[in-house]
Symmetry: C2
Subunit: 285 residues, 2 copies
């Protein structure tokens, strides 16, 4: 057992590997295969269809950046919708904000929630929070059928754009998301690696440009995601991520965070030149 | 050949792998083994003792950040010393600045220069620039014996802290570097991954704190370096990286760059909370 490795060949020519000190669980749902292993450096790592989704060691980067950035630029973030996010990490970060009254989480695969709840104790408090409402449904159908203008913030916390997540990268879906947002709402979507997936990122940006009055992109570093330089794309009906940023918003819990700070909030929108050049027509200043 | 991979197990529990579409060269010097392969995504990749040192696809990130950050905060960057940097990438970026009159490059291993010159055409112009003086010597001995106060900027462009590069991470060496710097000089050192190597980073910071009046750390993303969130440590005798940053300095060639911009210069000093907390006593604001 000691010498077993999980090698993730997500990209044809590039792989990342993790030594397995313990196999925690291997299960299969109708949507995907789920594996959780333990690795001495990363702690527990969850894989979906062979791709690392989160590790105990670096999940905080992704979850803090996908949630606190939009929440801290919105003056009144009461109702949040998370599409995907079944591990509970994004919900946990959203629920740190006392102003947040409800978080609806639409996760297609109940297995992800069940296993995360069992094996990632950090996220337990989110699952136990009464403000969290989980529905095990297809997020695409959910936003198509939901009433208009009911959410302040929509977070698309998706896996990679294959299989059941593919529709979460389409313009029709983004248009439905826009519809369920209130008149000053904000959407953030997981937008892959700027290093490996620029065509996809431009595609997302192109769709957003046709839908949202204001578009932005911001970056973060992940270790378990291949490509180092990872991106979120943001569409906003009214607010600006820097000009409308409220520094006092996270004062009460800022010492519990490990990545996000006031400076990181602002710096995340400074894009490397090759990224900025590629997105120049698609984002605002 | 088509199915061969190079797997880099630099960390005990974590690996990165590259499919080999072509083996370019395998050589051995008295210091290390050098391999260059071709990979469909990364282009040519140079490995030293099995660790990826640079790829054609992402070298620009490292080389732009190690050079333009200190040069653009110094009002009169005439004489630059590079310790290591045998591939020529750092020299290339330094030599873009017309104010730079000389770049001394002290590379212990001639093989690195010879093979880089042959296989990485981008760096050729640096090797042909008359302002570049290469000496194949031990950088540690060089700074010990060099006259004092002769350089405006010293860049320590080292490999990882094993083998012949180990001494480049010691306080005695940093003190000698300080000695060869003019009264307003700046030093930048390659300081590994904040994610994997925090003890080393704190060690470097602790040494710098005892030597330099002003200390700073800044970050960048690399794909071929394991740990995503990579750091440079900076010691400065006088200038401040943000307050003394001169925006016009790189106007003439800014369109030739692919990572570094004015915004990236400033944003690089915004550190993730866990990094800032770890270095809080060791860096200035």
């Amino acid at each position: 057992m000691e010498k077993t490795w999980v090698i993730e060949n997500q990209k044809d020519d590039y792989s990342q590997g993790y030594r397995v000190s313990n196999t925690v669980t291997t299960k299969k749902s109708e949507y995907q295969e789920l594996n959780i292993i333990e690795n001495p450096t990363f702690g527990k790592i969850m894989f979906l269809d062979g791709n690392a989704m989160l590790s105990e060691k670096d999940e905080f980067i992704y979850h803090e950046m996908i949630s606190h950035v939009p929440i801290n630029m919105h003056p009144n973030p009461k109702n949040i919708l998370i599409i995907g996010g079944g591990d509970g990490g994004t919900a946990l970060e959203c629920l740190r904000h006392r102003e947040v009254e409800s978080v609806d989480m639409i996760e297609i695969d109940k297995l992800v929630c069940d296993e995360s709840r069992k094996h990632f104790p950090k996220f337990m408090s989110a699952f136990e929070d009464k403000r969290l409402n989980i529905r095990y449904e297809d997020g695409i159908a959910f936003v198509k059928n939901a009433p208009e203008k009911i959410y302040d913030i929509v977070i698309v916390d998706s896996t990679d754009p294959f299989g059941s997540a593919e529709g979460l990268f389409r313009k029709e879906f983004y248009a439905d998301v826009y519809r369920v947002l209130k008149d000053d709402g904000i959407t953030v979507v997981q937008a892959e690696s700027a290093f490996f997936d620029m065509p996809l990122l431009k595609n997302i940006g192109g769709s957003f440009r046709q839908i949202y009055p204001k578009c932005f992109a911001y970056q973060y570093h992940m270790v378990v995601y291949p490509g180092a330089l990872w991106m979120f794309f943001m569409g906003s009906k009214r607010y600006h991520p820097i000009n409308d940023f409220e520094i006092n918003r996270f004062e009460s819990f800022k010492n519990e965070l490990k990545y996000y700070t006031e400076d990181i909030h602002k710096a995340a929108f400074a894009l490397p030149k090759f990224v900025k050049d590629s997105l120049i027509e698609l984002i605002d200043n």
